[in-house]
Symmetry: C2
């Protein structure tokens, strides 16, 4: 039974207010008390095989739900979610890490799972979160927790909450609830909007690049309103793909410099006014330094600041900014982007290639699918897929931690049970975290897992090859036998792949499709990408 | 081809001098150049499925070889070995982490895999290593690397070396090789030895507790010399088990307070002079606070300092200390410890229990076996096994990160190919890292993996049970079908287990034995332990 006047119960109540219905984790003695409390609450515990995967699942859950929580034991649990937390920081995902810890009263002894001192784990997490707190004082605990929670929600970055095991049931007194909301500087906003109006009015071919923060801050419908009101074409980045229905007549495609499609690159780079909203500009989104965005023509806003050409404004919220643009800018008159209808896919009896595989998936994608792709060619190849309204696309395109997609599909389907994940994952990624299909089966979920089996790290082969890029070949289609659940397929031809997808669609459970590809097969996008990446690896070998 | 005058080649040459013949890791673009260089060297690259396992394998390798190296890419690689590195720190293992990183010349851009800044990963590792360096300046790089290497060797703690990818081939100039050796303060040593001689001369029943640092610093033969010279009985801790041949007439057994055997506890705790050498005294080694060691009777030395009763000496090396004892102390006259001969095991047709399983293993252990046990009942139950000369016992008994044993067996067999690992692992541990059997098969190793399949986290069930302690059941014996290698067994009775072990012994390859146990079956040691652990979990639930 939960006492609403103790620290643990307060945490759960606050999380419920933010629509947290699942917490991901692995049991361990320093967190057992709190796990028991979660079991007795309205929030469901989702226990994975390994902590790292719980972190990935919670990250994906966070991207859809607005916040996601991973809960682990001290040391052996906390240190295993460092990588997932670092990813959440890099890709702006509102992930909360709750770590059990030795009781405050136990801390005079050397206890198992501890490292240098009792603050070591806290010191590590301070580097990869926006706020880290140790709830070791009942008087301050509620205020500190609420503060971390609001930082997570407002900044869309991970936070770390350490909960000593003797504090779970510690009683709390009265407290003032923090309801902080970050507000824009109205004068700064007004000045910036006036300046932008002049620029856009003068511009002949303005364009918008909409980034992943639109999704994180749930601004998709505002973006659509903006685009339709002012009638300016919009591109996404590889990290924000599906930020707008990709059938939208004003949607251009994914912009990623010379790596992406030439017509998108040409449109964006020849524009005289590029409005970038909520996009992380990195080597990946900028097409391995092939992007040519003239700062003189750029208006660039993120949650951290606005820059117009070479000057900056601070304290302007993304939502206020978009609202301001909607109210300020006039409608432009341009013809709409021509869209090619999706080709009907006719499966042949031939050996399947990665390009044909993506064409096949493109023809089969439905409104209720969530396309989840891992790093590598699963990601690069999928840039050309057309994502319609209602469908979501998720990847860790910037941080690129192999092994994200399968645990992510667990988080996605629990966050929104109406979505059915289609998971595209390389064999290297699968060998890292793929056995979490066991967890997926345990909770009766039904993703379709497609393994691009090309016997190695294909993206790296192109940069610099050696035996270190080779992988043992697994018979992935037999994994349902191991976990006593699901259906497995092995496919070699287009026809077999097409039929396997149809079979999987009709089956209400986990499906695993092992797609046997040639070792040197690669997508068109990867071919374009590889040349640039390889050049950079060679460039760094100065004296070779 | 390797140029001996560049940073990468220097690193490999120095590692070879310390007998590093294998480096563990996973490929990634920021480390590809260096991987290629390793491939062209005398050192063999061992590529695992996931980075964490590479860290565990290198830790185990380090414990046998004197140093072990894990080599990974930036961010997604580095952050995945944080847990393995924390374990190496906690358990004093000389692990070197080499992480690739963006080139020094690339660092003005936002690059993939990076988090807050380019120093984030370095700042994280500073908390869990004894020395962390970034080799970003060719002039200083060699000195900094050598310094980190010597810290690793001398202190038996992990170090972190960050190698920007444009520094791998950077030329180095002349340099002075550091050959620092930590020396004892001779006066302090002399005074301490005189004091100890008085105490031991007066003592009626002195006893030695030999800890894991004896193994880390390769002092096993010195310890044996000491024990035989002065004729004092010796106990190990659960962390240092096998530090001396367990058939030795002066070996008492594992001391772990009330958790361990009563006769060992009685002997140690009634002693009037307890000499503790190189042992980490934690809740685990002290039997969950049941140990009663009177500080007034203790002489306690570790690599970090010596204390006699309530006063301390600094700068005394472990090896000098043991040499000093050998030369100073006189022979005591006590009767030897009585050893029961190992019972012959007669397998019955009955359902196998965990206690009978350990008895069976005890009867089958041979001189060339390395017993590797994971945390949980695999560890607690094995405290009673008798490890003979030539056999080693390895666990992460203090840090207790589930999933260590299987990757560790990879590291052990590569460090010493004469050893054949017998791996004891719980089902929870196996589901974390067990698929590294694929890596084991890739390198043609032949461990015998025994899975204690009791459908959950048994150690935790005893403390506080709930559905979070349940695991999906896997058909582990079918995993050889997935990885196209090895032999699988499923056993329910004693006879089946006995025969499976004999079959596995005769088979020169990977064997996986799925031992189906009752859900609530547990070893005698775990039963003793559980009561004390459960009490502590309950004690922390103050107001429940």
């Amino acid at each position: 039974m939960i006492h609403l006047d103790n620290i643990g119960a307060h945490i759960l109540q606050r999380l419920e207010e933010y629509n947290v219905r699942h917490i991901f984790g692995v049991a361990g003695d320093y967190i057992l008390n709190f796990f028991k409390m979660i079991e007795d609450s309205n929030i469901k515990l989702i226990c994975t095989c390994d902590e790292q995967s719980a972190g990935f699942a919670a990250d994906a859950y966070a991207r859809i739900n607005g916040i996601g929580v991973v809960c682990v034991t001290y040391g052996v649990g906390g240190f295993k979610v460092v990588n997932s937390t670092a990813q959440a920081y890099a890709e702006r995902s509102p992930l909360m890490v709750i770590s059990g810890a030795p009781g405050v009263k136990e801390r005079s002894y050397q206890l198992h799972h501890t490292i240098k001192g009792f603050d070591t784990q806290f010191n590590v997490f301070k580097n990869i979160t926006i706020s880290s707190v140790i709830l070791d004082d009942p008087k301050r605990a509620i205020m500190e927790f609420d503060d971390a929670l609001l930082s997570c929600i407002n900044y869309k970055r991970p936070v770390y909450v350490e909960l000593p095991r003797d504090m779970v049931y510690a009683p709390i007194g009265d407290y003032h609830r923090i309801e902080r909301r970050y507000v824009s500087n109205e004068n700064a906003l007004l000045e910036a909007l006036q300046e932008i109006k002049c620029i856009v009015d003068m511009a002949k071919r303005p364009v918008i690049i909409a980034g992943e923060e639109i999704q994180r801050f749930k601004l998709e419908s505002k973006l659509k309103e903006l685009v339709e009101k002012i009638n300016i074409p919009v591109a996404s980045t590889i990290l924000s793909k599906s930020v707008i229905n990709e059938y939208h007549p004003l949607y251009l495609g994914v912009y990623e410099g010379a790596i992406g499609h030439e017509d998108v690159r040409e449109y964006v780079e020849s524009s005289d006014c590029i409005i970038i909203i909520g996009a992380l500009l990195s080597d990946i989104t900028l097409g391995i330094f092939t992007a040519k965005l003239d700062q003189n023509k750029c208006i660039n806003i993120t949650s951290e600041g606005l820059s117009i050409r070479y000057h900056k404004y601070e304290n302007i919220r993304l939502d206020d900014f978009i609202d301001g643009l909607i109210n300020t800018l006039d409608r432009k008159e341009y013809s709409l982007v021509q869209k090619c209808p999706i080709e009907e896919f006719v499966a042949k009896k031939e050996k399947i290639t990665i390009n044909r595989l993506f064409k096949c998936i493109n023809s089969l994608l439905k409104y209720n699918h969530a396309l989840v792709v891992d790093a590598g060619d699963a990601l690069f190849g999928s840039a050309d897929l057309i994502i319609q309204k209602g469908t979501i696309f998720m990847s860790c395109a910037y941080y690129s931690s192999l092994g994200f997609a399968i645990p992510a599909s667990l988080g996605i389907q629990l966050a929104n049970p109406k979505l059915r994940p289609i998971v595209l994952v390389g064999d290297g990624s699968f060998q890292m975290t793929g056995m979490e299909v066991s967890t997926i089966a345990k909770y009766n979920l039904n993703p379709i897992v497609i393994i691009l089996n090309n016997k190695g790290y294909t993206t790296e082969r192109i940069m610099l090859d050696g035996p270190f890029n080779d992988l043992n070949e697994w018979r992935y289609e037999l994994i349902p036998n191991i976990i006593n659940s699901g259906k497995g397929f092995i496919v070699n031809t287009e026809e077999e792949f097409y039929n396997a997808i149809l079979d999987a669609e009709a089956y209400d459970g986990l499906s695993i499709i092992n797609v046997v590809l040639d070792k040197d097969d690669k997508s068109e996008a990867l071919k374009r990408m590889a040349e640039h990446l390889a050049k950079r690896v060679r460039d760094t070998k100065d004296i070779l």
